[in-house]
Symmetry: C2
């Protein structure tokens, strides 16, 4: 085992110095970073977007199978995802950490290395935070600031009757990855030198442990000159997110079961576990794909965009929200999603 | 006991709706508040300030004697304090909450009523957040966004040789309040109908349970045309904060024991507990007073400002940081402060 340093040896300020030293600054909007009562940023010509996500040990992550570096990466990326979902660009994050006594400086360095990597890849500056003791477990709260050109922010409430409903990537894989990791954790209990069986299912594990935010899709839409009428990221499951859009926009919707994008590995895993594949895709959380609506006249354009699937259309509000199954039945959508408070 | 509603009855989104309904919006910079992936704010002409603070049950607060409404108030105010310490004005907050199963909807409403009250009094908009389950206890992470006029942000690193060191209000009372609350908690153990003894010590209890941020001092300085050369809020104790300023500014300092402002109740309490009064004032945390430096030529002006005390002066770096005691000795300053990670 590597050398482990007690956090108390460094104290709060020594720890922050060590974790944030040589932190690069890539955005012009970042004026002053870590090291004062507050960070300073400047946004003279943009809409500024602000979002916060909190992750708690034992609720949102399990360190038995979630390496700290991956956790840091994921904690940052899920915040970036919220900014992309507004058609914005993430620029700065602040990181709040609550750390119990079992964590060492090296543990936090691993966590921060993941946060740094995410910042590097997505071009975001870490500008501040708060690190404190926790009575039990690890708590991570990240706030992300981003910007969008004036008039180009995309909210949830702009979907219109006849708009097309589009989704990026594929759904349900992160949820199946979680099931797989939980299964292997159970199988490993009490066994020394246990080797988990992930062969042929690497994609599922990666989707759960190292999700990406769809920066590429936002860029692609801009390149094609498409401004979605509404957009949201899929963190709680397609069903729940689609209901958010329809409720905020005062519309209904119809989506088609046979159009929901599902990866082969997701299907195999659902089969293995005897789970309903469509339920997993509709209600499994943490895909961090983008769900958005575009006007009907964009049909040809979105159809040609790689990694985008048109899964249905928006309707008038009184028609409600439903999925058309393969055999032609209508099933009302329900937000069964990923509700930690349920 | 009042009616208690399980959080699971509302779910995450129902809960957020209930807690944030009718939330007023007072700042022009708040464009879109709670209810999307991110909030939208606009700052065309200002420096934007961002700060985060995390409070954890059992580390930063004890619900035995901290009512939830006060806790909400304090959690918001300590963030505002960081923005004032940059010579800014707090405008928006996002609230991240981790909540264990023992908390009901009514508990969270009490917490939010405190946050709302603080927002009302300080003119801040609550624009977003994240509410989730916690495995143990309550976690509150608040991020505050504020603004300052261009060129008027005050950082820690601008203190210059011969500058005067000023402090607002009085010090050590919040720490003594904590000692008092802990004493009464111990005394009450196992006793029914215990009545804590706070008579004549109300100020100490209030300083601990309901601190205020020094909005008034920032306004007063502006009115007098004084732009401090450096500023910080005293959350970890005078000693620690003064060392932050001197380290960031590459200076030393001399402060005078007999000039440190201490309230009568603080002195009485220290006597009662047999604690060193100056140690409490120098190292006790959570006063949320402002510590700042001004050029020597402002002497007359700051001397006349009510609630401001000149406690010493900045020196060249090689003279180090020290306090001159009543009997004329020099004691080197140490950051013994309020370190939860020590």
């Amino acid at each position: 085992m590597e050398q482990q340093t007690e956090i108390s040896q460094l104290g709060e300020f020594g720890l922050i110095d060590r974790l944030t030293k040589d932190m690069p600054k890539v955005n012009a909007s970042t004026v002053k970073s870590v090291g004062d009562d507050a960070a300073i940023v400047e946004y003279p010509d943009s809409e500024v977007l602000v979002t916060t996500d909190m992750l708690l040990e034992g609720v949102h992550f399990d360190l038995t199978y979630m390496p700290l570096k991956h956790l840091g990466y994921k904690a940052a990326v899920v915040n970036f995802s919220d900014i992309y979902a507004m058609n914005g660009t993430p620029r700065q994050i602040t990181v709040g950490l609550g750390v119990s006594a079992r964590f060492t400086v090296e543990h936090l360095e691993a966590l921060y290395s993941g946060i740094r990597l995410a910042c590097e890849i997505y071009g975001v500056d870490l500008v501040g935070g708060d690190t404190t003791a926790s009575r039990s477990g690890l708590v991570i709260s990240i706030t992300c600031i981003g910007d969008a050109r004036k008039g180009e922010v995309v909210c949830r409430d702009g979907a219109k009757d006849t708009d097309l409903i589009c989704v990026s990537g594929d759904l349900g894989a992160a949820y199946m990855g979680l099931q797989l990791l939980e299964r292997e954790k159970t199988a490993s209990a009490g066994q020394k030198d246990f080797v988990p069986k992930f062969e042929g299912k690497e994609y599922l594990v990666e989707r759960q442990l190292k999700p990406e935010a769809r920066k590429d899709i936002v860029a692609e839409l801009a390149k094609e000159g498409i401004l979605p009428t509404s957009m949201i990221d899929i963190s709680d499951g397609l069903s729940s997110e689609l209901l958010h859009i329809c409720r905020a926009s005062h519309t209904g919707c119809r989506i088609y079961e046979d159009r929901i994008p599902i990866d082969y590995q997701t299907a195999v895993m659902a089969e293995e576990l005897g789970m309903n594949l469509v339920t997993a895709a509709m209600n499994g959380g943490e895909d961090y794909e983008l769900l958005f609506t575009v006007p009907l006249h964009c049909h040809e354009k979105v159809d040609k965009m790689p990694g985008i699937k048109v899964i249905g259309h928006i309707t008038k509000e009184d028609l409600g929200c439903a999925m058309i199954t393969r055999d032609g039945n209508e099933i009302a959508l329900k937000a069964q999603g990923f509700n930690h408070l349920a």
